[in-house]
Symmetry: C2
Subunit: 223 residues, 2 copies
DNA sequence: CAGGGCAGGATTGGCGACAATATCGTTGCC
DNA sequence: GGCAACGATATTGTCGCCAATCCTGCCCTG
């Protein structure tokens, strides 16, 4: 394995573990994160947990109130939409760049992902599809060669994973997102920057639309 | 000058002080940042400095090598260009949103900035103009109502301030950027989202072009 | 019975000291 | 004369303790 794990080097392992625990859903939004609990849970010192929570705090994953501790932040739907809007334009840019720089080997890799996605949807394997989804988006940004951008996007995405995931589980959702994903892949493999940008924008635009619907039904159901 | 609480809330004051010192140029790129030096320089404990460097590290302003300390990161021109490309699309989005949401009072404020910019350029006050420039960009993002986006942009911008500033000092540069800024302001004040997005993109596209030229001359001069 | 004040417990914040590690200068050897 | 190993120093990383702050439940009072 050659290279480049997405956020590997230098990043505190404790941060990764806690982040993973939150993303995985071990901790629900608004749940308190007590330093000593986490410390003995992961068998590390309290200082390590402390600095990890600090970092996760300014990544926006947890909310830190002075003298009152940290809790996992509940990202409101409006903010998830906002984040996705930014992703729409930035990933559009990245898709265009990727289309310009993609190599033959990378095209083969994308085609492989493409085939796996189709297979996953046909088999009704939503969680596999969801994972391929993340992998595709991340790989496209990597292919664009924009390292700094990738970091910023990763952080943004981290805050909306929960919403993204809930969306992916909606029945019928894969059927609409699959062709959009295929369009992105085809445009990049065809080395057509304009089409790639349009396809990426179109896809995330569709995600935004779905998020809006989801937010509406949630609020009306609450009444 | 009262207060420009650009990133005020909750943020550790020590982080702000060190960040300001770096941005101001007190520390040149690649210069080592020794914890105890900074600690006594700012009359705070080493722990405070330590956690501040941690945070600045994952903001990308300083580079931290394990067991070897922190140094202010030298942002290569290619990366400054990359960052500006992202700003181009994101601030384009924000300008469009701002054009939709701007209030009459805010339009008056923008017109005031507009007048000050023209005056600064006519008077040849480049540093005042540069400051107005930053204020305009920041205000536009605020007006778009995208808080999370604003944070991400702020972080990105922090890494390229040095390049931005050097650019602003180039003779003839204000003459080309001023009309672009005016176009953005006019589009937003005219509540025309499409024009605002185009204007913002055009402006940052021009900045990218200038950065490329600057990078070229710098590399040829180095030979 | 309701409201306000008060103590007890729990949790975070900060500080200092100690241990681990890298860097640099020196010395000795080939 | 150059190179390698070694020791001294400077700097970072981590741990444990104590002070500050906040929340909870209880008791006293009106």
């Amino acid at each position: 394995m050659s290279a480049a794990p997405s956020i590997p080097p230098g990043s505190d392992p404790v941060v990764e573990v806690i982040r993973a625990a939150i993303v995985r859903g071990d901790h629900v939004p608004d749940q308190r994160l007590v330093e000593v609990d986490l410390a003995e849970r992961f068998s590390v010192s309290r200082g390590a947990v402390r600095s990890a929570l600090l970092q996760l705090g300014n990544e926006g994953l947890v909310e830190r109130i002075p003298n009152r501790g940290a809790r996992v932040r509940a990202v409101p739907p409006a903010e998830a939409i906002e984040i996705t809007e930014v992703r729409m334009v930035v990933e559009g840019l990245c898709a265009a760049k990727a289309a310009q720089r993609v190599t033959d080997a990378e095209i083969a890799e994308l085609r492989e992902i493409r085939a796996e996605m189709i297979a996953a949807v046909e088999a009704g394997e939503v969680v596999i599809y969801s994972r391929l989804n993340n992998r595709l988006h991340r790989r496209l940004v990597e292919l664009s060669g924009q390292a700094t951008t990738g970091g910023a996007l990763e952080r943004l995405r981290g805050q909306s994973v929960r919403h993204q995931f809930r969306l992916a589980l909606q029945p019928g959702r894969p059927a609409v997102s699959l062709p959009e994903h295929l369009a992105i892949i085809d445009a990049v493999c065809g080395r057509d920057p304009v089409a790639a940008e349009q396809a990426a924008r179109g896809h995330l635009g569709s995600v935004i639309h779905a998020l809006r619907m989801s937010a509406d039904t949630a609020s009306s159901r609450a009444s």
